[in-house]
Amino acid sequence: MAEHKAKHIAIYGKGGIGKSTTASNTSAALAEAGYRVIQIGCDPKSDSTSVLRGNEYLPTILDSMRDSGKVRLEDISRPGYRGVLCIESGGPVPGVGCAGRGINAAVNLLQELKLFEEFKPDFVLYDVLGDVVCGGFAVPIRDGITDRVYVVSSSDFMAIYAANNLFKAISKYAPTGGAKLGGLIGNGLSAGYSQNIIDDFAHKTGAKTSAYIPRSLTVSQSELYGKTVIEANPGSQHAALYRKLAKTIAENEQLLVPNPLSAPELRSWAKDWGDKIFNLESGVVEGIREAI
């Protein structure tokens, strides 16, 4: 029998952009399809897996490391919706210590505890704080942890800016065995031209867009009940979108190294879009007919 090999996937994106929602719904959809899934929250906020486990208490890896010398897998993991194994790295008290080193230590500990050999997952999703402020937050995309990254972004400039920074990190580490880009996930899209902005950024950087998730009240409501859309509203349009995204992520093997824009290129690109949106709102429809 061939050796069981899990796909390790990192989900990055600007803070508050919907990474955890996207990751949790993708995990839920994969689990619904019969896969064994682990979701690891790599964010000091430690709320990545909340909606997979009904907002129940889960000690973080770093809390356990701080409080007791020996950490056991059963102390820091809980099965959530359809058996998705939920883990949170956690972090230090805000403003103290080094969260980046904490992420690094937590990921190393999971490997030492032979989590993947024990649980034998098909998919491992790492939900990582998106503003890669230091080397510690880039650990999941370095050699030997994940081999693919999905970047979640809205069409807002700051989200695109963060995505571009992540592309820089990917293009830095990929040549030495780091993860490559699986795709860009447009999330929380509201305006008609939002999808075009995401597509244009993907085009400019040589990336692909894997999914477009519009802004949705259903998703917000489900989260208020501590559930994924897949669990709370399985027949909804968004549940279908997340199932489609999960299928894409499961099957996609076309990984690539993006070409991030330089700071002046990004500014110029943003200004062009500013002009286009201004024209659109002033009634000029030139150039973006399909968005209307």
């Binding site: 770093l62 230090p92 103290v96 080094c98 080193r101 904490g102 230590a105």
Partner: protein, 446 residues
């Protein structure tokens, strides 16, 4: 000649410079917030160059020895524990809390921990040392500045001026392995002119720190003393004078007194009497060496390698008093400052050729190509001199093969030590050559 890697830089980092300064300050107790490796590396380096020191030093240095847990969650509470426990087991007049690269990277609040210690009556000051900020000289410069800045917060200070009291700064403990003798000699010279002196790194230690604010002048003998002198001026209104180096030899000492007299009142009568006595002795001893100087061909062209203040002290004495030609000078502390520091003026007049490098491999190449007849430097230059079969003498760090307690190559006493050691180095080399020649002839005859 420039290399991508730096081989054997002779001085440590900012933390090491600060730590060895505290170690040399009697009455002060260092508490280092760092990995175990930082303090141990410092201890091993000190041991390797026989860096003798009597304060809380070497393996006794209290340190937090932080592990990953303190990096991830912050190490402030570990430091708090270490400061309190240190104060319980080591009596100190002043506890000096030092940071490290790790503490700086995770921004542990050393200042807050120091304030907490003060609240329970532990006289503590801090310096955010971190190896990436600069070299050992930078560590001395900024630690001394920080000590003076915070001194008034932990000690009750009497600010009334004491006429004739001066502070001495810029002689770096251990970075200058002769610092004990150097400071003792400059103190002797200043006391001979009727002055009282705070040298800080002597038997009185922290007691002199408290008196420092009463001084009427600070005398700075290398650029590394300037930040602390500026602090004393800004905070306590004590003016300062900067000298390129300590004086060496009668002419240099007289010129030093001349400069000093323009700013500080000297007891002229005492000084005249002292100089007359010393000069008589000086001429007598120089005269004693005259025969050997020529008979043994002691005069050699010389290459000097060492810190700027050391070279600026030795060069005029060698050239003008002994008639030695200095064909090459290698300055080892030109770039020892921190980022953003203005480099000092290039002392091009030191020698025919002047280089600035802390790279021992580059220094070796300079020595090999110099055509010099003698090397005066640190222990690191000994192999290059041996390869050329020429005499080598230690004038700066790293020290080797001798425990330096009161030896100095400064002032007037320094001239005797210097001439004795200089002659010994040449004579030892002559003997080695002679032994080599005899062995060569014996081999021929077999």
């Amino acid at each position: 000649m420039k290399h991508e890697t730096l081989k054997n830089p002779r001085h440590g980092c900012d933390l090491h410079g600060a730590l060895q300064t505290v170690e040399a300050l009697y009455g002060a107790v260092p508490v280092v917030h760092a990995n175990a490796g930082c303090v141990y590396q410092h201890y091993l380096a000190g041991q390797a160059e026989l860096s003798v020191c009597g304060g809380v030093c070497g393996p006794e240095v209290p340190a937090t020895e932080v592990i990953e847990k303190q990096i991830v969650f912050g190490g402030a509470s570990r430091l708090r524990e270490q400061i309190k426990n240190t104060a319980k087991v080591i009596d100190g007049d002043l506890y000096v809390i030092l940071g490290s690269c790790e503490a700086a990277m995770v921004a542990d609040d050393i200042a807050a921990m120091t304030r907490e210690a003060r609240e329970v009556s532990i006289p503590a000051v801090f310096y955010f040392s971190a190896g990436f900020k600069g070299g050992a000289h930078w560590g001395y410069a900024n630690l001394m500045k920080e000590i003076f800045r915070q001194l008034g917060e932990v000690k009750k200070l009497d600010l009334e001026r004491t006429p004739g009291l001066v502070n001495v700064l810029g002689v770096l403990p251990k970075t200058d392995p002769f610092y004990k003798g150097d400071l003792r000699e400059i103190k002797r010279l200043l006391e001979a002119a009727g002055l009282c002196v705070n040298i800080f790194f002597g038997p009185e230690g922290t007691a002199e720190l408290k008196r420092s604010v009463k001084a009427e002048q600070t005398l700075v003998f290398s650029r590394w003393g300037i930040p602390a002198a500026l602090q004393l001026e800004e905070q306590y209104g004590i003016p300062f004078m900067v000298f390129d180096s300590l004086p060496l030899g009668m002419e240099s000492v007289k010129s030093f007194y001349g400069s000093l007299a323009s700013r500080v009142h000297l007891d002229e009568e005492c000084l005249r009497e002292f100089l007359s006595r010393e000069e008589q002795q000086y001429r007598y001893l120089l005269d004693s060496l005259r025969h050997a100087w020529y008979a043994e061909s002691l005069r050699k062209t010389a290459l000097l390698a060492g810190d700027a203040a050391c070279l600026l002290r030795l060069a005029p004495f060698l050239r003008e008093t002994l008639g030695i030609v200095i064909n090459t000078a290698v300055i080892t502390d030109a770039r020892a400052g921190g980022t953003g520091e203005t480099p000092p003026p290039f002392p091009g007049s030191l020698a025919d050729k002047v280089f600035q490098t802390a790279d021992s491999a580059e220094t070796d190449e300079i020595i090999a190509a110099s055509g010099t007849e003698m090397v005066l430097g640190g222990a690191l230059e000994a192999p290059a001199a041996a390869r050329l079969g020429i005499p080598h003498m230690i004038i700066c760090a790293p020290n080797s093969g001798q425990a330096l307690l009161h030896k100095t190559y400064a002032g007037l006493t320094g001239t005797w030590f210097f001439l004795e050691d200089y002659a010994a180095a040449v004579l030892r080399n002559n003997a080695e050559r002679e032994a080599g020649d005899i062995q060569f002839l014996r081999n021929l005859s077999h």
